[in-house]
């Protein structure tokens, strides 16, 4: 990539940090990386206001932070087997929440933007949500030709799941769709493709 090249719409993620003014905290995380992000959050402090932690512990691999989380999180920890179940829990939580709640999300980009989408329905803008990208750089890619979205893309060029066109994955990001723009890469010279490389492991 050209040095100094930068696309304004590409999100920049930080690390989870407690908001000191919040009157309630909702922490949502998935996977091993998300679990570590939550543990790091509790290394900062144990806030005095109510805490809810929704954790999708779906990677039953060599590392499992759920037992550590159960020891560290003082209250409100709920474990889910899938991302989808954690998202449902967010949906169930938000209707009774009040202003002063701050939301923290750690996980894949897909997971974070699915939660941001749910929050938008409750009038919470995505820049109010503290986000930490963990685990994977995999991208969701929006096909500008057929409007289909291909998830978990790890390479610079990918086939659209819906129309099969070979798409070049750009840095232009849609917060509404939670996906990067994908453009047909061989439109002018059919079948002539650049080298396909994994760059979003």
């Amino acid at each position: 990539m050209e040095r100094g090249y930068w696309i304004r719409s590409k999100p920049v993620y930080s690390t989870l940090i407690w908001n000191q003014q919040a009157t309630a905290h909702l922490v949502v995380a998935e996977g091993v990386g998300g679990g570590m992000a939550v543990l790091k959050l509790f290394q900062q402090m144990h806030p005095e206001h109510p805490i809810t932690v929704l954790y999708a512990d779906h990677e039953q691999g060599s590392v499992d932070y759920s037992a550590t989380l159960q020891r560290v999180v003082p209250e409100g920890l709920q474990l889910y087997a899938t991302d989808g179940a954690a998202l449902q829990a967010v949906k169930a939580y938000l209707p009774q929440a009040r202003m002063g709640l701050r939301i923290y999300v750690a996980g894949s980009e897909k997971f974070m933007w699915e939660i941001a989408g749910i929050c938008t329905e409750y009038g919470i803008e995505n820049d109010e949500i503290c986000k930490e990208l963990t685990g994977t750089l995999a991208r969701s890619v929006y096909c500008v030709h057929c409007k289909g979205i291909t998830h978990d893309v790890h390479s610079n060029v990918t086939a659209c799941v819906d129309c099969g066109r070979m798409l070049f994955v750009r840095d232009h990001f849609s917060r509404r769709l939670g996906a990067y723009m994908g453009l047909m890469v061989d439109a002018e010279a059919p079948g002539v493709l650049p080298e396909i490389e994994e760059i979003y492991p």
Partner: protein, 317 residues
Amino acid sequence: MSLLTVTVAAIEQVTPLVKHFTLMKSDGGALPAFSGGSHVVVAMNINGRTHRNPYSLMGSPGLNEAYHISVRLQEKSRGGSAFMHEQIKVGSSLQITYPVNLFALAKRAHKHLLIAGGIGITPFISQIEDLRRTGAQYELHYGYRSPEHGAFNDVLKQRCAERAHFYVDSEGQRMDLRALFSQQPLGTHVYVCGPNAMVVAVLETARALGWPENHIHSEQFTAPPMGEPFTLRLAASNMEIMVPAEMSMLESIEAAGVDAPYLCRGGACGRCELEVLSTNGGLMHHDHFLTDAEKASGKKIMPCVSRANCGYLEVNI
């Protein structure tokens, strides 16, 4: 800046201190459309000097045959409110700017919490029209000094019914901002317009309770603070003028015939920002636009409300 010429069609004394003016286009026809929370700047010729004050538009944004503004007579008037109260009669002609909205409703809000103090009720009257039209969820909390100073409270009671809450200071009724802000549903936005102490209290309470900055909106039309006179050098115009104690830098620049940009004249919008080239004193920033770091850098100034404590100040205009 292009102006509209309007004629005063009606004047109503609303409270002992507030007059309501109905303005119609002098050459007939419709006035430009506006959105709830908009204001216009009224230019007044006071003793040969042009004085400009911003006033919120209070009418229904959907109706454009007339504009409605209300003017509170200020105890320490710099001339503007006294001029509007004493000199302007039905049939008088005024020059006003096109409407500008620096206090717009957040379209994605799920609930709107409107907090007004005294004459600060005016921008909410047009906002409430927009909220009623769109069926949005809102609450109005309106505080004023004493029963006779509750401008438009009858109209508001009728339009807002149970959504309006009134607090009469002389009867010991106070808003409990902490309690109010603690029980709002997610997606609520708060808007405040009123005396400085009230605006500060709302901003500080909302922030202290974890409200994100983009859910907090405020508007204040404060008169530019007075200060010591100083010499102002206008580098690009190659002029040197005096800023008297009772005039703002912006007013002084305008009086010298230099066309300076402005919108809110209250230190909020940033439109009038000027580059500071040199000074032999200290800048006195009174705006809400520049960041603390920008203020400290001494490179920029908002001439509508800020001034300098100096012998001379050189700006790039």
